[in-house]
Symmetry: C2
């Protein structure tokens, strides 16, 4: 079978915000499979904020994305051809196939390709609520925040793939869930469709004082747990309203990805309120994924974990969709449909 693969590679590193010119389209005819290899046709590509960090050179928690190589990314698709005994044509699979229409994967590489069951969970959900974003929510909430019933949990980027799961998992544990999101439509969705107790539209808050008041109204008993996806002034405002012994799971600092240094206004609150802040990266805790994925799949199957997707059409739309994601233009999990 002769297959034409289309891929987007990193052409150059962004100076500040990424632009479409940082990516370049490459087309290639794929070679025949070797023994143990699997040819996958990608149906969905996941776009995630972490990718912005990889585009930079220099020190981060992960190696930078190499120039002229296919952009890293999670993918869900279907096996077209297999020379590996565990995979057969038609199998639904998820992996880290990257920004391309097809991938040839060595079936034995650990974590490279995983068969999934699409009878109760849609394929695309394995890139969202039942994938890395869902496990991220589950890990930060249950392992770092560890809220007790009756406590108040605040999550920023609340309509996103991670944030929406955080709030629903917190509600399922008997907590008050307060979201922070950008825009009235996102806030309405968070409260009305996802069942959060309240949501603050940070774009409607003119200044820090107004943000502070809104937080006070939404979390009248103070904040016990914060799942932080944003950082900057949002985190500053949340910290000022944290109760003694509060826990902050630091998952994202999206505001700083373009290199502007973003300080924390009042770190002495960590001492005054005896807070715990902890940063984490979910891929370093693979031992907990099975437990997390089980709860997430059950909840999605049962309809108690809801999510929304924004789907861009075709590989060529990926750069603009990614740039939009970094600006918060997506609504829920950002995907690209590849086939």
């Amino acid at each position: 079978m002769s297959v034409l693969n289309r891929q987007l590679v990193l052409a150059s590193r962004p100076e500040a915000e990424p632009t479409a010119a940082n990516f370049r389209l490459v087309e290639q005819t794929l070679p025949p499979l070797a023994d143990g290899e699997v040819l996958v046709q990608h149906r969905f590509l996941s776009l995630d904020p972490y990718m912005r960090g990889r585009m930079n050179e220099g020190r981060s928690y992960a190696a930078p994305q190499p120039l002229d190589a296919v952009m890293i990314g999670g993918t869900a698709g279907e096996v077209l051809e297999s020379r590996h005994p565990r995979f057969a044509p038609g199998d639904a699979v998820v992996g880290m196939g990257g920004w391309q229409t097809h991938a040839i994967v060595r079936g034995n590489d650990p974590g490279a390709l995983r068969k999934v069951d699409t009878s109760r969970v849609p394929l695309s959900a394995y890139l969202g609520a039942v994938g890395m974003p869902g496990v991220t929510a589950w890990y930060g909430l249950t392992q770092i925040c560890a809220p007790k019933a009756g406590e108040t949990v605040v999550v920023s980027a609340a309509s996103g793939a991670v944030g929406s799961a955080v709030g629903q998992l917190a509600k399922a544990r008997g907590c008050r869930a307060v979201g922070i999101a950008g825009g009235a439509d996102k806030c309405a969705y968070v409260v009305e469709e996802l069942g959060f107790d309240a949501c603050i539209d940070y774009k409607a808050q003119a200044d820090d004082r107004s943000l502070h008041r809104a937080l006070k109204a939404a979390a009248p008993d103070g904040i016990d747990c914060c799942f932080e996806n944003v950082g900057g002034r949002i985190l500053d405002a949340v910290m000022a309203r944290m109760n003694a012994f509060g826990r902050i799971a630091l998952c994202g600092m999206i505001a700083g990805y373009n290199g502007e240094p973003i300080s924390m206004a009042n770190p002495s609150l960590i001492l005054m309120s005896r807070l715990k802040l902890q940063g984490f990266i979910v891929s370093e805790h693979m031992e907990l994924w099975p437990q997390a994925l089980q709860e997430l799949a059950e909840r999605v199957g049962a309809g108690s974990l809801r999510y929304r997707e924004t789907i861009a059409e075709g590989l060529d739309s990926a750069p603009q969709a990614f740039i939009g994601l970094l600006k918060g233009r997506n609504f829920g999990k950002q995907l690209v449909r590849l086939a």
Copy 2:
């Protein structure tokens, strides 16, 4: 017995740095003891950075020190007279007697008065290495930092009552101990007398770049644990050199006590290096004090936990000694000798 008590009360709240005018001397003849009461003559008053916070009005983790009331403070002394069955004249006792020469204490109040054994541990040490500062060091190091043998532990204010214990307890656990202190004499003491592996004189570092270089030289394998007594640019510099999964016990932010907001330059390092920061107040963990005090007393008795004291003479010297403490003019535990 008619006893004249001399005390220092808080006369006014400081605008920025405290001055002697914030304190007022009051003399009073003490009334006769009621049943259950104990009259204590204080020999030593402990001066500690936390007192600065109490002088402020407004939100902190503890109630502010009331105006016109005797300043809060730990004391060590001797029972002069007792109408409580558990205490007898001559008993060595520690308590929270405040900035005064004598105190009448209800012997049954929980934690108000504790008999101590001065056969192997000097009385004053119960205000330092075998008292609140020592337990503070023990708690933050063992319960938050929890270093493994071979890891590198950095502690700021390293020649102080808390910092000196942190480094020695870390060494006893097989760690590399690196101190940060202000002045060549303090650094020499920390390395030569306390046995730290290295000490950085932050006053000798002209700028952040030079501080960063000094940290790199003193902690060539990076920093796994930080016991932070200072905050500000010291903490910023340490955070930049922390290894993945590092732990920071936040014990003091002395630089911010006068009200200047002191930000954290790069909180995204918490995420990038998956750090844990945790603030704590040792008085909230009384259940661990017996265990901590046992190790501390044994080490002081055996000579493996050393300390230095700066002793001001007489109650009248307390305000200047306290102001000096906040400026780092003390060397080791700051005490006032009252009798």
